[in-house]
Subunit: 326 residues, 2 copies
DNA sequence: CTGAAAGCGCTTACAG
DNA sequence: CTGAAAGCGCTTACAG
């Protein structure tokens, strides 16, 4: 290649890496030679020197089924891919639902095939977080990683405030027996949205009643089951705040089956404003998570982390979207 | 590391690569030193020599939406991940729906970050196939790549025979006005299943009628639209063979909306036996694609290809699964 | 601005 | 079985 262009390997390398300290003539000669020969750098050799791979992993520590069932992942993945695309960086998707997959993917990551990881959906005390941290791999999580002793950067929507807003909305529209279906209590969304619910109930002067709180796992099926439980425990409820749109769909299913009209008999509020919110019957009143901004911030802070900056925390505001279900 | 174990770098390397031509004592010393220091090989350096990365890409040249909408991809991805897991090889998932993503992912692949690619869902004349071939990257496709001049290995279900079996089943159960909703005609599933349908109609002595053939794009929405078109063109149809379960769900949606009973008024046969077949109302009679075997064969032939073998073609038999819709 | 040289961390004949 | 040496294809100070 160097011979082809009539310059030294050093000069070729300089052209490849930004063209600084290179005369226009030399640059032209190299560019022409590259075009002529179809030369492409050997990334292994480059990586061996630089220690970089110019790619980023999107690591999902969640069973694969959840990835396909929950439209939030779709939205998040697309937005992250886009944000990276703007910088011409490929996104390597890794699904590590089982211990075995985790081990294999960690090995790949630790081997330096990616420069950093966008960590999605970690439950409390997720060992992957610690492993990645120990290995010195730059990480930024989606949602606050619970139960970690190490400080790790993350980007999240303001879960608690979103929950508050939804419950205030339910209260403002006349509801007084407001139940909730929470996410898993080892996830930030599970914990924070429940906290927002409780705070707002208290602020509105409504009594706290543990019978009105049921925990789901973010799946549609768990939403339906939770609704059945609620109906049995407290047939007089007039509203349910559900911690995810997908679970809210399940709640809607169960309510319809039980002959309850939404919103006439029972109002249903979701969370996420995922595609599920629009495809449900009736369309869901929900709390919008700003996925585009979340993704953009995840990518921005990860790149900053890779460049050597300290871990950062970014909390983004949510927004109430009123449709027909509440 | 070599110093730590009191041996040469060459011996360490030999231990790492299978332990051949190494004395038990030397091996033990190296193993101990590895455990002690937590040493892990630098893959970039190794790859620079070997030209291998010990990982495989699952490349989907399809818009991301389709990936999430169609449960077939979920099943295929899981089975491929599992088949690779048995050999301890990580699966790198890449979604290249847009030209931009294709370019970026190709660059990554050509840079040698993966040893080969499992190519999924390529339409006729897909430029990715040619690019990969030119770059000398081992590839095995899922389904026969159409419109390619180069010979490329692939694994597929026997689409044509599956279609024949379904149409025979419809005919055997008394249907005489059998319509079909095909997949895109630039995909093997679109072309072959239509061919099987036509052959069987002829074999059964049923007249060919182009009004009974509508083309969809494998999405649920396109199935619904196709059904509306069919009902308008030929209100007397008594059966529809749909080239995918997802489209069949759409057909079911439209039929229900039009007041048609399934299977009483119109029988509906699907293709895939994907999760959609069970969740539809009524459950679908369909043609099972042996995804586990397809995946296993894709992985097996890709690894063989990486090891230097010639491209292979594997055609697997399908199976009629009778449920309630036909 | 540019070339010669060192070096990144491995693997692999080669000679013992 | 094992060590010394060459070499994989780059990047990056270092001198000019």
């Amino acid at each position: 290649m160097a011979r082809e262009a009539g310059v030294s390997r050093g000069t070729v390398s300089r052209v490849l890496n930004g063209g600084h300290y290179v005369s226009p003539a030399a640059k032209a000669a190299v560019d022409a030679a590259i075009r002529r020969t179809g030369y492409v750098v050997n990334r292994h050799a480059r990586s061996l020197i630089t220690g970089k791979s110019d790619s980023v992993a999107f690591l999902l520590t969640e069973p694969q089924e959840r990835f396909f069932e929950d439209p939030n992942f779709n939205v998040l993945l697309r937005a992250c891919t886009q944000a990276l695309a703007d910088r011409d960086i490929p996104l390597i998707l890794m699904i590590a639902g089982t211990e075995d997959e985790r081990r294999r993917n960690l090995r790949y990551i630790e081997a330096g095939h990616v420069d950093g990881v966008l960590l999605v959906s970690s439950h409390s005390g997720d060992p992957v977080v610690a492993r990645l941290h120990e290995a010195g791999v730059p990480v930024v999580a989606c949602g606050k990683p619970l139960g970690q002793t190490t400080r790790i950067g993350y980007v999240a929507a303001d879960d608690r405030d979103g929950a508050r807003e939804m419950v205030r909305h339910l209260h403002a529209t006349g509801r007084r027996r407001i139940a909730t279906v929470t996410g898993p209590l080892d996830t930030p969304g599970g914990v924070e949205r429940l906290a927002g619910y409780r705070e707002t109930l208290a602020a509105c002067g409504l009594p706290a009643d543990d019978a009105l709180v049921v925990t789901g796992d973010y799946s549609r099926a768990s939403g339906a089951e939770a609704a059945r439980t609620l109906l049995e425990r407290a047939p007089d409820i007039d509203a349910v705040f559900v911690a995810s749109d997908l679970m809210a769909q399940g709640v809607l299913d169960a309510l319809a089956r039980a002959g309850k009209r939404v919103p006439e008999d029972i109002a249903v509020g979701g969370f996420d404003d995922s595609p599920a919110a629009l495809s449900s019957q009736p369309p869901l009143t929900t709390i919008r998570q700003p996925w585009d901004r979340i993704s953009a911030e995840m990518v921005r802070t990860l790149l900053a982390r890779i460049a050597g900056e300290d871990p950062a925390t970014v909390i983004l505001p949510t927004e109430l979207v009123v449709r027909e279900s509440a």
